[in-house]
């Protein structure tokens, strides 16, 4: 009799858990959107990249982003060429930028419940061959089996060795640019 109960009860529990399985474990986003915005009184410059890759591990809070730099698209072809060139991001030598970090307040995010959570993310960002610590807050939205991560942060270009003393870039490009990230995650 006991055996029979186990035989029915255990699979039933598994079935229920599987049906209502919360979003958990390793989540992957293969087409994340990263844009940046530079504002000066002379010119506003925007670039968009829809090809960033990211993972989010719900149990450890580990977050990683890899950004193919040549996928940034500008309104003007010339700007895109400058962006890729040796003077700016040197994307032939450094085709990918990378962020690795951790959600430090993992307790504040309930991955089992639909809702919107503020996560603190801390880590390191590598652009060209320069790695710098970086932190910010991200909004994590959970709805059913989908998780969306969103953040906005400021980057000082000089921190990554991108400086201009003369010419158009020194006047038309902001010293600090705004980076927006939007990633939709799904279980691996």
């Amino acid at each position: 009799m006991k055996k029979l109960i186990y035989l029915i009860f255990v699979p039933a529990v598994f079935f229920v858990l599987a049906a209502f399985r919360p979003i958990a474990g390793k989540l992957v986003s293969k087409n994340a959107h990263i844009s940046f915005f530079s504002h000066t009184t002379l010119e506003d410059i925007t670039a968009n990249n829809y090809k960033a890759m990211s993972t989010l591990e719900t149990t450890t809070g580990n977050v990683a982003f890899v950004v193919p730099m040549q996928s940034f698209e500008f309104e003007k072809a010339l700007m895109q060429e400058h962006f890729n060139s040796k003077k700016f991001l040197d994307t032939k030598a450094f085709p990918k930028a990378k962020f690795t970090g951790k959600i430090t307040n993992l307790n504040a995010v309930d991955f089992t419940k639909d809702g919107s959570y503020e996560a603190t993310v801390q880590g390191e960002l590598t652009i060209k061959d320069t790695t710098k610590p970086i932190q910010g807050t991200a909004t994590i939205t959970i709805k059913g089996n989908a998780l969306t991560g969103q953040t906005k942060l400021k980057l000082v270009l000089a921190d990554y060795g991108i400086t201009f003393k003369k010419g158009k870039p020194s006047t038309n490009l902001a010293k600090e640019i705004e980076v927006t990230v939007l990633a939709e995650y799904h279980p691996e």
């Binding site: 994340a32 890899v66 040197d90």
Partner: protein, 163 residues
């Protein structure tokens, strides 16, 4: 003599002004054109390399720096390639662009091909398992990333199916 010299001096000044003025106008026109020059039309440009998805992935996994040197351009106008492979998955990115993954079963990585507004319909008509040749511009190569914990695919964009 004097008036003639004065005349010719005036004339010289006129000619010089004309040339300088013309030069300035030409420079402004060229500058404006360069500043506003259109993006390269990938689909109208010539194909640089024709390759299978597996061969391209193997090239990148075997020697990434040599592959980057071969395929990437310093100003981002990287090589235009025609890739043949098997449609492994169909997705849509956050710009509503169709993304076709060319990858053989058992391969470590594939070639992720992003279409555009004008070619999305062509991608929609493809079916998983189909053999197809896709033309696009290469953006980055395949590699194993220990932090992501998976093999990144080769990325090509501005794609269309080659007929």
């Amino acid at each position: 003599m004097k008036p003639i010299r004065r005349m010719s001096r005036k004339k010289i000044i006129k000619v010089v002004l004309f040339i300088v003025g013309g030069g300035v106008v030409a420079a402004l026109l060229v500058g404006t054109y360069l500043f506003n020059k259109p993006h390269r039309n990938v689909q109208e440009a010539a194909i640089d390399f024709t390759v299978s998805s597996n061969a391209l992935v193997d090239e990148y996994l075997g020697n990434p720096s040599a592959a980057n040197k071969k395929y990437l351009n310093e100003e981002g106008n990287s090589k235009i390639i025609a890739v043949t492979g098997e449609v492994s998955s169909k997705t849509v990115d956050l710009k509503n662009q169709q993304v076709i993954l060319l990858k053989s079963t058992g391969a470590k990585a594939g070639v992720s091909c992003t279409f555009m507004a004008s070619t999305n319909k062509v991608a929609e008509s493809l079916t998983v398992g189909q053999q197809v040749t896709i033309k696009g511009v290469i953006r980055s190569g395949a590699s194993y990333d220990p932090d992501l914990g998976f093999y990144e695919d080769v990325i090509i964009e501005k794609c269309d199916v080659l007929k």
